[in-house]
Amino acid sequence: MDTAVKLIFDLLAFTSVMVLIVLGLGVIASMMGIFNFAHGEFVLLGAYTLFLFQENGLPSWMGILAAPIVVALVGLLLERTVIRRFYSAPIIAMLGTFAIGLVIREVVRGLLGGHYKSISEPLEGMFTVAGLSFSVWRSVIIVITLLVIAGSWALLSRTRLGLQVRGALENPGLARACGISTTRLYALTFAFGSALAGLAGALIVPLYQLSADIGTRFLVQAFLSVMLGGVGTFEGPVLGAAAVGGMASGLPWVVLPVLADPLVFVIALAIVKFRPQGFISQGRT
């Protein structure tokens, strides 16, 4: 029974983090039409921020609060200086963000000195409800993710800013004609997406080991999720992330762990291949 609970919790926690990453990636992709190949490295940056805080003896919760802010600022800076040049050319944007990701990854690798670092869980231990024990940290991840999703949804559907965002998404030209500064919205969107990635990185890294290469794995999985779910919707990427996250954490229990990762990719790619419009075909695009 305990194993089953642990499995389900692992699955849920990992899926939650995937949802955070994918939400950021999907927001940027549907708003500006560019696929951010540096997104995995934003996750890495978030993880690295937490690592720095722990390394310097600061409390972990501060690191987790700081991670999204730091990464949002980095994202904002990059958007203002480099990435906005690429909006008109999505394929060039792929190359450009890929290069940015490469720079971030290699800087972190240089700073880490090529070692693997383990990061302790900020809240360790288990708690017991009705005779079943749950990992505290995994529960925190799940709760935070649910809060963030609820918050983003409320922001998009209930506030003035959300209305502007939806307007700019629907028809950027018309939005601009109505006096909405899409430039500002794009910058905000990019910073928001980066912040989500940073938060995800800080939340998940205690369950993994920190190395410069974790970004690539998350990038590939997140991309597959966005494509599975379909671009331009809010629910699509979340569903896609749930599917990919579920497969990625569930398959290692079924097949050899070495085979699990590639198998996830193959299955996801095959689904995308035969259903390129995603799960939700009547999306808001």
């Binding site: 890929f98 290069a99 290699e106």
Partner: protein, 347 residues
């Protein structure tokens, strides 16, 4: 290289053509290299390495520069054939040049055709992002699989690969291997040049300019792309085989996103859209890397510098190093510049 023939074509009133000049300079430099460097064997090894990686860069160039396929996984078609060659050498003790090089090319071709069929062909036109992601994923997954597979040496890779043989002669690092690599590069270069200047290449140029219009003309655009992608895989396979024989080692990193990224950087830095650009880019980057490796700080952050270079090139100088010398008009194509009354230069 075959530009020697074309150099004389530029008559009065026609813009001066620099590309053939660049090609001749590179050709002369390559032939002279082993003689100039003969006193320093490690530099001959470096030069051979550059030639081999240039072949990989050209294979990426065929995909990206000539048919707009963004592949982040070109190293997959480099690494897998290299592993096959290494295994053939280890388990079958066979490394004759007439067998293994074609075998590597066949493996590369087969693998890339499978990828092309999956990623490019089908009822629905795939988005560029799907192709980029599919190739990246393939390369990443292959690296992961190979690093966990004991039969192929897992994370340590395969070392002391059986030397390449021609009859009784065994190729070791040095001038002979340099000229073997040079011959392969020249053959690949001339073949690609012929391909891109042919009617087939004209269709590719059309696809690059306006894919939709070509599709309306009735060309099966995706099929053309798939063919180019497969051929590029074959060329990468040749490079991979040469690489594993030359280094005597092949590891999982040689098929992962890392080397794939290098192929992108070589090509874009040198100048995408020409065949000589990737060769120049490879030479420049590998030579710089060798020279700067002595400085500790540079060595540690060399990949960062490469990333910044790629970013700068993408953002500010999309035509790369070559773009500083050769005009856009000349790079984009010369299908219209036919000598009046003469034979069309391309075909």
């Amino acid at each position: 290289m075959s530009g020697v023939v074309m150099a004389g074509v530029a008559g009065p009133g026609r813009p001066r053509r620099l590309l053939p000049v660049v090609e001749i300079v590179v050709l002369v430099a390559m032939v002279a290299a082993p003689f100039v460097l003969s006193g320093r064997p490690e530099l001959v090894t470096l030069a051979t390495n550059i030639l081999i990686l240039s072949i990989l860069a050209i294979s990426f160039e065929l995909c990206w520069g000539y048919s707009g396929i963004m592949t982040f996984g070109q190293a997959l078609f480099f690494g897998v054939p290299a592993y096959v060659i290494a295994l053939v050498g280890r388990d079958l003790e066979f490394s004759h040049i007439w067998g293994t090089l074609p075998l590597a090319m066949a493996v590369g071709l087969l693998l890339s055709s499978l990828f092309a069929a999956f990623l490019l062909l089908g009822r629905k036109t795939p988005t560029p992002i799907f192709i980029a992601l599919g190739t990246l994923t393939g390369s990443y997954a292959a690296e992961r699989l190979v690093s966990g597979w004991q039969y192929v040496g897992a994370g340590n890779g395969l070392s002391s690969i059986k030397l390449l043989q021609a009859g009784e002669y065994e190729f070791v690092e040095g001038t002979a291997f340099f000229f073997l690599a040079f011959g392969c590069l020249a053959a690949v270069y001339i073949g690609c040049r012929f391909l891109t200047r042919s009617q087939f290449g004209l269709v590719l140029a059309g696809i690059r300019q306006n894919e939709e219009r070509l599709a309306f003309f009735g060309y099966r655009v995706q099929l053309y792309k798939a063919i180019v992608f497969s051929l590029a895989g074959m060329i990468a396979g040749l490079a991979g085989a040469l690489y594993s024989y030359h280094q005597g080692f092949i590891g999982p990193g040689n098929m992962g996103p890392g080397l794939s990224t290098m192929a992108v950087i070589y090509c874009l830095f040198g100048g995408a859209g020409t065949l000589i650009g990737p060769v120049i880019g490879t030479t420049a980057i590998e030579a710089l890397s060798y020279v700067l490796a002595d400085i500790d700080l540079v060595k540690r952050f060399w990949p960062v510098i490469l990333g910044l270079v790629l970013l700068l090139v993408v953002a500010f100088q999309p035509s790369g190093l070559l773009g500083l010398v050769v005009s856009a008009r000349e790079r984009i194509g010369s299908y219209r510049w036919r000598p009046r009354g003469g034979n069309p230069t391309g075909g």
